[in-house]
């Protein structure tokens, strides 16, 4: 189980690289500009069931996207929850 921390928006190449690397049972945490994935509910990460996906609440708030995430029923964690995810995963990879 690996925690993948994605910091780039869906418009970059990086999310596609993550899709190739991520395995069933892993966790994807979207942070910084990565939270703009909220704006596209058709993205693969929102429609699959192989791994859990979370958005970092602080970065959603900073970009005015909290209500959109809530409307779509997307799961969020605060910074405390981010630390909790790192406790639960022995390894993490930051994609940037």
């Amino acid at each position: 189980m690996i925690l993948h921390i994605l910091t780039t928006p869906p418009t970059s190449e990086v999310p596609r690289q993550v899709e190739q690397a991520i395995q069933a049972g892993d966790t994807l945490l979207l942070t910084e500009a990565g939270v703009t994935a909220t704006l596209d509910p058709d993205l693969h990460c929102w429609t699959q069931n192989d791994y859990a996906v979370f958005l970092l609440e602080e970065d959603l708030v900073a970009r005015g996207l909290s209500s959109i995430a809530a409307t779509h029923g997307l799961s969020t964690v605060d910074m405390d929850g981010f630390v909790a995810l790192t406790e639960q995963h022995l390894q993490s990879v930051t994609w940037y």
Partner: protein, 130 residues
């Protein structure tokens, strides 16, 4: 748990240092130990003592310094990444014939070996890069 952080983003141009700092405080608030922060690539600019943001904005260097003072967190800066970006201690400035320097304790210029030591010593090493 023992945590280490790797910070590779420049202050005020990339969100990575702010994210790392908030994460650091959350780590400590959950009762973990933050052993050290390693600044690499553009992250070395976090150590510049000449950093002078407006008074009503967070001074990232001072925030890292406070973390060291209050929680004994080691602040290591990659010497190769720092020197080529003009982030330099007094002794290195003297050695290279410069009149000025902009890095002082509690930040320490170290080699990449220190990053490996941090990784081996910690239960978790989290990278912050943007």
């Amino acid at each position: 748990m023992d945590y280490g952080l790797l910070v590779m983003g420049a202050p005020y141009s990339q969100p990575a240092p702010h994210s790392a700092l908030r994460f650091a405080h959350a780590v400590l608030a959950r009762g973990h130990r933050l052993v050290g922060v390693f600044f690499y690539h553009d992250g070395v600019h976090n150590a510049s003592m000449l950093m002078t943001p407006p008074q009503d904005e967070l001074n990232l260097r001072d925030a890292w310094k406070a973390l060291h003072k209050e929680h004994d967190v080691a602040l290591d800066v990659c010497i190769a990444a720092a020197l080529r970006r003009g982030v330099i201690s007094q002794s290195e400035a003297s050695r290279h014939g410069h009149d000025a320097f902009n890095l002082e304790a509690p930040f320490e210029l170290t080699g990449l070996g220190q990053l490996l030591t941090l990784q081996q010593r910690c239960d978790r090493l989290i990278t912050f890069a943007s």
